[in-house]
């Protein structure tokens, strides 16, 4: 398990080295995105009002941000489940040139294939610790605030060593949680045994 301190714009050669189980930190520019923004761009055919060329890190988060003395103040920040935007995952990697996505949980096969093809990773928080990240994030600007509302707007961030996040998908197509699945699958038998549930148990079909 290695630790990487990455600078945005993320470079292909840096991302290529990273493997599942590694920890990553990010510095530089990033933007927030949730499903409403994906739908707004990809389904409702609007144009993203900023360039992701130098900002190739998407954070899947609905932050709590309030206005205090005419300035944006970040109140709470916790990446949320990326599997929700699997439908638009590959598309966003390809069309926006993403090199990393930070979000909770993981993503599916279509996104994994796009990550392999386009050299991109997904990284996930190791615990729910929103307060420990607040000092690493500056709010620079916001797009689509009126159209999408405060949580789903595209917040423009400047990061200062934001992390650590566990890399759960790498650019080789590996998924960290597949290895956990295999362990849990073995342990399922132990749980059944403890509860005296026969492994070949079949439910009576009621409907």
């Amino acid at each position: 398990m290695a630790k990487y301190y990455l600078q945005v714009p993320l470079k292909e050669e840096d991302i290529k080295k990273i493997r599942i189980g590694d920890l990553v930190y990010f510095s530089g520019e990033a933007f927030t995105c949730r499903s409403r923004l994906h739908r707004y761009i990809f389904d409702e055919k609007n144009v993203l009002p900023f360039s992701t060329k130098e900002k190739n890190l998407l954070i899947h988060v609905g932050p709590v941000i309030i206005k205090e003395n005419n300035k944006w103040k970040l109140v709470s920040f916790m990446p949320t489940s990326s599997i929700r935007f699997e439908k638009w995952g590959a598309k966003s990697i390809k069309e926006w040139g993403l090199k990393a996505i930070v979000g909770k949980t993981t993503m599916g096969e279509e996104t994994a294939a796009a990550m392999k093809e386009n050299i991109c990773i997904h990284a996930t928080p190791q615990c729910v610790s929103p307060n420990l990240w607040l000092d690493s994030i500056e709010i620079k600007d916001v797009y689509l605030f009126d159209e999408l509302g405060t949580i789903e707007a595209a917040w423009q961030l400047h990061l200062n060593n934001l992390g650590p996040f566990l890399v759960d998908m790498d650019s080789e197509g590996n998924n960290y949680f597949d290895s956990i699945d295999a362990i849990v699958e073995e342990n399922r038998k132990k749980a059944y045994k403890a509860l005296q549930i026969p492994e070949d148990f079949k439910y009576t079909k009621l409907y």
Partner: protein
């Protein structure tokens, strides 16, 4: 008489406390998890979780930005005299949810299910949700639960009808399989508090499962030995799964298993699961008829004095 101004004040403070201050029983369970951590990664993950939660208590900011569904659980004294009655109590509750949202103590998360319209105050048709229990006396007790989206959306809440022929074996298999599916990649933010509802109609089972997950203290057991034993058996079995914090494979899989039941139709046994995340949020306050206010750690929803 319980005055409107007092209700406004107490309800607002209870919402705020729920969002910012993790309940004591959850805090203790997480502390215990740090102590019994077997690896540095596991210890760091639980320590960072608790560190962040402690900062929220100190700064009065959100324990987690997903403040979820606004749920009210009211215990109403049979002789309680509320200014404006129950309708006013609900109106004040809705107003305080909006106020808490505007002040940053709740995230504006509640939307129209089809259009996505965000009213900005977490209030809309059938939301917030109100549940009532009528008890002897003149007091009223408010419990606010900020029910996170992760634990609710990703298979944390499930339902199945089980044949009598399949009995406890069918019930427990459903619970084990559901919990594995719901915790993959940390979906429901494990280790969770798992509530189980057995019996009743589908909605009765789902309701008591939710109450078991959100309103019972970690470490408490159902008073009937048979049910308490099912809780212990499931707790031990689920902790063999190796799911760990956020599905990482490090640490416990579940913090508690709380089972409640209702009598059921002879035709079938409804089973529902309801998970609460490792950042379970709940706050309770009691308002006395003479205006005295008491903050409580335990909602004692099931009136067991535990």
């Amino acid at each position: 008489m319980i005055r409107k101004e007092i209700l406004e004040d107490v309800i607002f403070k209870t919402i705020k406390k729920s969002s910012c201050c993790i309940p004591k029983d959850v805090h203790s369970a997480l502390k215990k998890a740090i102590k019994s951590a077997e690896t540095e990664t596991e210890k760091d993950a639980f320590s960072n979780l608790l560190k962040s939660l402690d900062i929220s208590i100190e700064r009065e900011n959100l324990a987690c930005p997903d403040t979820g569904w606004p749920l009210f659980f009211y215990k109403i004294g049979n002789e309680a005299d509320i200014e404006g009655g129950i309708l006013e109590l609900e109106e004040i509750s809705r107003k305080m949810v909006t106020k808490a949202t505007k002040e940053g103590y709740l995230r504006s998360t509640m939307k129209h299910p089809l259009t996505g319209y965000d009213p900005g105050g977490n209030v809309g048709l059938n939301v917030p949700y109100f549940d009532y229990k009528f008890v002897p006396g003149k007091d009223i007790q408010v419990t606010y639960v900020a029910k996170g989206g992760g634990s609710e959306c990703f298979g944390g809440t499930r339902y199945r009808m089980i044949a009598f022929a399949d009995g406890i074996t069918g019930i427990e298999k459903f619970i084990v399989d559901s919990y594995i599916a719901a915790t993959r990649a940390g979906a429901i933010c494990p280790p969770g508090i798992l509530g189980i509802g057995i019996g009743g109609t589908a909605n009765i089972a789902a309701n008591i499962a939710k109450e078991a997950a959100c309103l019972r203290l970690i470490g408490t057991h159902h008073p009937e030995p048979m049910i308490a034993e099912i809780e212990t058996d499931l707790y031990k079995a689920l902790n063999k799964l190796g799911i760990g914090i956020m599905g990482s494979g490090e640490g416990p899989s579940v913090l508690a298993v709380n089972v409640e039941y209702a009598y059921t139709h002879i035709a079938g046994i409804a089973v529902a699961t309801s998970s609460n995340c490792c950042v379970s949020r709940r706050a309770t306050a009691k308002i006395n008829d003479n205006g005295k206010i008491e903050e409580l750690d335990n909602p004692d929803w099931f009136e067991r004095g535990q």
